[in-house]
Amino acid sequence: MATVPVDEGKVRACRELAANIARDVQGYINQHTSVGVERTILRAYGAEGADAEGAPLVNLAVDRYKDAGLLDRGILYFVGRALLGGSRSVQEAAEALAYGDLDTGEGGPSLEEIREALRQPTIDALARIDGARDQRDALRASFPEAPAPHKYVIVATGNIWDDALQAKAAAYGGADIVAVIRATAQSLLDYVPDGATTEGFGGTFATQENFKIIRKATNEAAKEYGRYIQQTNYSSGLCMAEIAWMAAVEGLDMLLNDAMYGILFRDINPCRNFVDQYVARRIIGRAGIIINTGEDNYLTTADAVEKAHTVLASQFINEAFAHNAGVSDEKLGLGHAYEINPSIENSFLFELSQAQLIRQIFPQHPIKWMPPTKFKTGDIFQSHVHDAMFNLVGVMTNQSIELLGMFSEAIHNPMLMDRFLSLKATKYVFNTAKDFGDEIEFKKDGIVAKRAVQVLDEALELLQTVEKETIWGAIARGDFADVKRLRDGGKGYKGVVARHPEYLNPLLSLLEGDAKGGEAAGTGG
């Protein structure tokens, strides 16, 4: 197999630095919660629905206790007290928190009594996640495993019913994975809309009902075509954790989820983002969902030649955060992309080098390989060739998950035929060059080998700097994607709350097992 030189000592050093960087943040995470986290927990215990104006019950309950300065104890503290005070279910308790008398948390039952009241609901909450996981995994196991790279396409009509139709069409065309692109406005909404939706800009809202609808459609397609279709959505933005839970209980296979993406590209407050990503990933880890990290985005704002090492450095950091949240390497789909300016001489070799380097450094990981977008134009014919070169790298370097390029990338969300032609071309390249990577070797000290050495060296250097400055400092300085963000800036900071010494969250404790965040290790590193 064609490999690039990788200095294992340097890789170990990168992992240690990344672990230190994440540990520093984990100290902060373990002392805080957020409105997003508490809403997630409340949903997990069974609270659902929205009022006539569309405000979800979990928002009404959590915001009320947040505004009263009481959320530091955790919403479950008040749920437990409501259950002891006569509520017959968590739903009733949540309604009492939202609409009944405000409970100041003084007097009444002891902490032990509250814990006891939450005992069965906690078992039920965990069983719901586990049950959905087992059901999904059983269905998946009943079909043959698709060969890698898995072909990943997106649907993005804005209307969940059209999405369902297009998802089935994609399955017909040979897709292994279908992602429903989310409405662009959603990442900054501090609530998850309720019910099925038929209007959205740039995509379709992520709602629990929409997840159900699309899951049903792809499961039908799986039975029809004899191939399992993996279902993907977005656990990002201000409702990262809530969406992770919805995806878990609705049997999704994959989630876009990144430790820093929201900070860099959506200007979400760093504190909020780190706290939320931890709980999101705890749920994701339990549900056995594969995450796709967002390093590919770095190269759409920064230069793909000069900043290739920032992708690798960020992958190490994302890995460390994921390990801290109990996500194993086998579920850690680190992202990268084919975004070098195609007019650069030998740019194909640079792409090949980086893809192979990442494949070798993260051998267990379901690496996510993203197509060219930045240099795509309306010339669909040239664009199709550009994608073919990208496909060739994907199959040569044995990437795990490949998001297919679309020749109409620069024009519109993919149409039915665009997706079909992309799948057709990709199948051709994957098949015609199937064992190419195994048949060749890269020249020692050639362009590909040298480039790989350079990228790893630069990544190590950057991680050393970030460790010294801490991640907060590095982000403020614009080390990643050339974007600068301040610790107390951005959206959603008000929703972060320091935990009370007796903060109550039995579900999170169960998800953490014996290991508190920062101590639970993944299988690698």
């Binding site: 804005g158 662009t184 800009f201 740039g202 590209f265 300016n341 309306g378 039915l416 035929m417 050339d482």
Partner: protein, 256 residues
Amino acid sequence: MQKAAKLPERGVEMSDEKQLLRAYGDRRGDGMIQLSFTLEVAPGARAREAAKRFAELHGIHEPLVASMEEVAPGFSLFVVYGHSQHAVDLATIEVPELRTEALSREVVYARIQEKLGRKLVVVGACTGFDAHTVGIDAILNYKGFSGDKGLESYKCFEAYNLGAQVENEQLLARALAVNADAILISQIITQRNSHKENAAAFIELLNQQGLRDRFVCLLGGPRIDHKLALELGFDAGFGTGTKPGDVASYLVERLA
């Protein structure tokens, strides 16, 4: 066979005042075009005939259905070649065109220095729901696009990139706060014409507050052209392939 010499240059047929343009395939005047489309029908002889008639209805003479393939159950993709019967009279077309000649960085600098004696202040954002900053980043950020560095890199520009999902009110407030000369709006998402609505709403906001004349307003995006931008009340529009230097040159022509 007709002598090619009878036809004027570049496939333009002159008859009196008319300048008729036909599609060029292999020979002048052949009207040859290709098109691809999907019909909601499974492949078959009737489907092929349907595609042929569909093409004929679009003014295509002797359509050749080159390919017919099922792209989803009950959906066929067709590739069709044929002779378009249509011609466009170039003489009747008037389109406002932006000057395209880019000024050099030195000229840009010298003219701003000379005429303004200060930096030219530019504020840009993707407004509304739009989260795609590729366009505005390419124009404003230091890095620029494809070797042409962004306005941040010019000593004579003070560029503020507010990023994605900026509300119109927010953008205006910032423009006022930094005393901007020009406002750049980027719109990529086009579902249900949201790009037009967002952009028009910004101009409306300026008009309501009597501030329209205070700023030069530019609109950019893959579905934007100068004509559309003018219709929406902007001073200029920039489409795909615009480089930072084009925008810099335009601003200098307008303001310095």
